[in-house]
């Protein structure tokens, strides 16, 4: 996809009078030299893989380090015992985010979206929403194109890896992608989708990447929860007509700027932040082979 900005993408929609997801799909298919059918078949495969990954969660899974596993099951069962403060729907979203991120940490098959560490955000928003509103898969694929289009512009203008831009670039980007997608599913227009994306990214700006012992486990698993819940609150704001004062493209540029100002210790090196806390250091000594 050759769009360099969200604005350019929205302009193309106005000019061509086609749905935004279709413009994103066609633009990408043209660039990569595949047909629209091939593109859709691939997206459908990805969606199938995401759903399969959700089904294949196992309560008993634990990561090699033993740090994570089982929380997704705890959440799923807990919300049956007592009404969650956030309400049932958000309860399911939290459970799904934890489960997918735990599956990743435990070497199960997942779909990177946009990264493996942030793979729980998008499915945690999309899967519960689909089952609550009985949305056909066809429409889910359309929402995935919108998510991917947003993600690609973030990747082009800024970055999507914790090593480059901190966790705001991973969980923040995933959250913006999910927010834009779910607004589409809820019947919002493209401008509202992008307002939601902007708000979601803004609200996670500055988030550092500080994985304990350098492993994609702590705080990564629970960060997927804030990515998903943040996407939903941003989507609700946008659907009520609330706008981001700072345009989406400028938010993305600010994210890049913030990322480049983060010290290396806060960019996936497993040194600063939570990784550098006394407990983080103790865990690191325990789980990493001594050299």
């Amino acid at each position: 996809m050759s769009f360099q900005s969200i604005q350019e993408m929205l302009n193309a929609e106005k000019q061509q009078g086609l749905p935004l997801w279709q413009i994103i799909m066609e633009e990408d298919a043209r660039e990569t030299g595949i047909s629209a059918e091939e593109s859709k078949a691939r997206m459908s495969q990805l969606w199938g893989a995401m759903r399969a990954a959700s089904r294949e969660y196992e309560d008993s899974l634990r990561s090699t380090s033993g740090l994570v596993g089982g929380d997704g099951a705890r959440m799923r069962d807990g919300i049956k015992q007592h009404e969650p403060i956030c309400g049932e729907f958000i309860g399911l979203v939290i459970a799904q985010a934890l489960q997918m991120a735990e599956s990743n940490a435990c070497m199960k098959r997942i779909v990177a979206a946009p990264t493996a560490g942030s793979c729980g955000v998008l499915p945690a928003v999309l899967l519960p929403y689909q089952s609550k509103h009985n949305i056909p898969d066809e429409r889910m694929l359309e929402s995935l194109y919108i998510a991917a289009g947003v993600g690609q512009i973030i990747a082009t203008r800024a970055c999507i890896s914790g090593a480059e831009g901190g966790c705001q670039a991973e969980i923040g980007s995933a959250s913006a992608m999910a927010a834009a997608a779910v607004v589409y599913l809820a019947g919002g227009d493209s401008d509202q989708s992008m307002q939601a994306g902007a708000i979601a990214l803004k609200n996670l700006l500055g988030l550092v990447c500080d994985p304990v012992a350098g492993l994609v486990e702590v705080p990564c698993v629970k960060r997927n929860v804030i990515g998903a819940v943040n996407a939903l609150s941003a989507a609700d704001m946008a659907l009520c007509g609330i706008q981001s004062v700072i345009p989406f493209d400028e938010v993305i540029d600010a994210m890049r700027e913030v990322g480049s100002q983060m010290s290396p210790g806060l960019r996936e090196t497993g040194e600063g932040g939570l990784a550098g806390s006394p407990t983080g250091i103790k865990i690191k000594k325990r789980v990493l082979p001594q050299r």
Partner: protein
């Protein structure tokens, strides 16, 4: 970068660089060896050495050597699978100079006695780069069909190889030449737009001065 670099790959977790990329390194090494590796000595560098176990980098490398792709759900069991197939393997650490933090060096011996030593880095997002092959510097990703020719450093060999490719209507996308010293052994690494058939690869092996030909499709 396209949409499916953003959504995807479908992969076994937990890390696209430490797990998916490591599977790719093993896979490309296996392809380059061209036969089942009965012995593998693997040395991990940098972040691969420190956080590799927690990220399953070791299991991922062995999976690749068994011919698995990054989305293979058998990756966590690769050690057992490799032992069952009679592969002997060991892991160690190494400090290499001026390389990407996620780098591995593999010394392989195939079931028919072929030997290969490669060093490769995982660049992120599951993409990799082979940076050294049999002691000679290189740079290729394994994403396009790649022909690797070890030859004596003599005039005319490059022309012979490229004209053979031309005769097969194969277009060269990139070409790199490396050698250990003047008049010693040299390596040509040629990435092509089209696949090269087996017969053509064998024809390369018959050219005088060519020591070893490896093809990766």
């Amino acid at each position: 970068m396209n949409l499916f670099d953003i959504l995807g790959p479908v992969m076994v977790g937990p890390s696209s660089s430490h797990t998916a990329g490591a599977v790719r390194i093993g896979y490309v090494a296996r392809k380059l060896l061209g036969e089942f590796p009965k012995k593998a000595e693997i040395l991990l560098h940098g972040s691969f050495a420190t956080t590799g176990t927690g990220h399953g980098t070791d299991k991922a490398l062995i999976s690749g050597l068994l011919g698995m792709q990054p989305d293979d759900i058998r990756i966590p069991q690769s050690f057992e699978l490799a032992r069952a197939q009679g592969m002997e393997f060991s892991f160690g650490t190494v400090a290499l100079r001026d390389v990407h933090p996620n780098t591995a060096l593999l010394r392989l011996t195939g079931e028919n006695g072929k030997q290969l030593e490669i060093t490769a880095s995982s660049l992120g997002g599951g993409r990799i780069k082979v940076i050294e092959i049999d002691g000679i510097r290189s740079s290729f990703t394994g994403e396009a069909p790649t022909l690797i020719v070890h030859n004596l450093d003599r005039p005319g060999l490059v022309a012979e190889v490229t004209s053979l490719l031309y005769n097969q209507s194969i277009n060269i996308a990139t070409m790199q030449l490396y050698r250990n010293r003047r008049g010693g052994t040299a390596v040509m690494i040629i990435e092509t737009d089209q696949l090269i058939n087996r017969k053509a690869v064998e024809a390369f092996e018959k050219i005088k001065g060519i020591v070893k030909v490896t093809y990766l499709d």
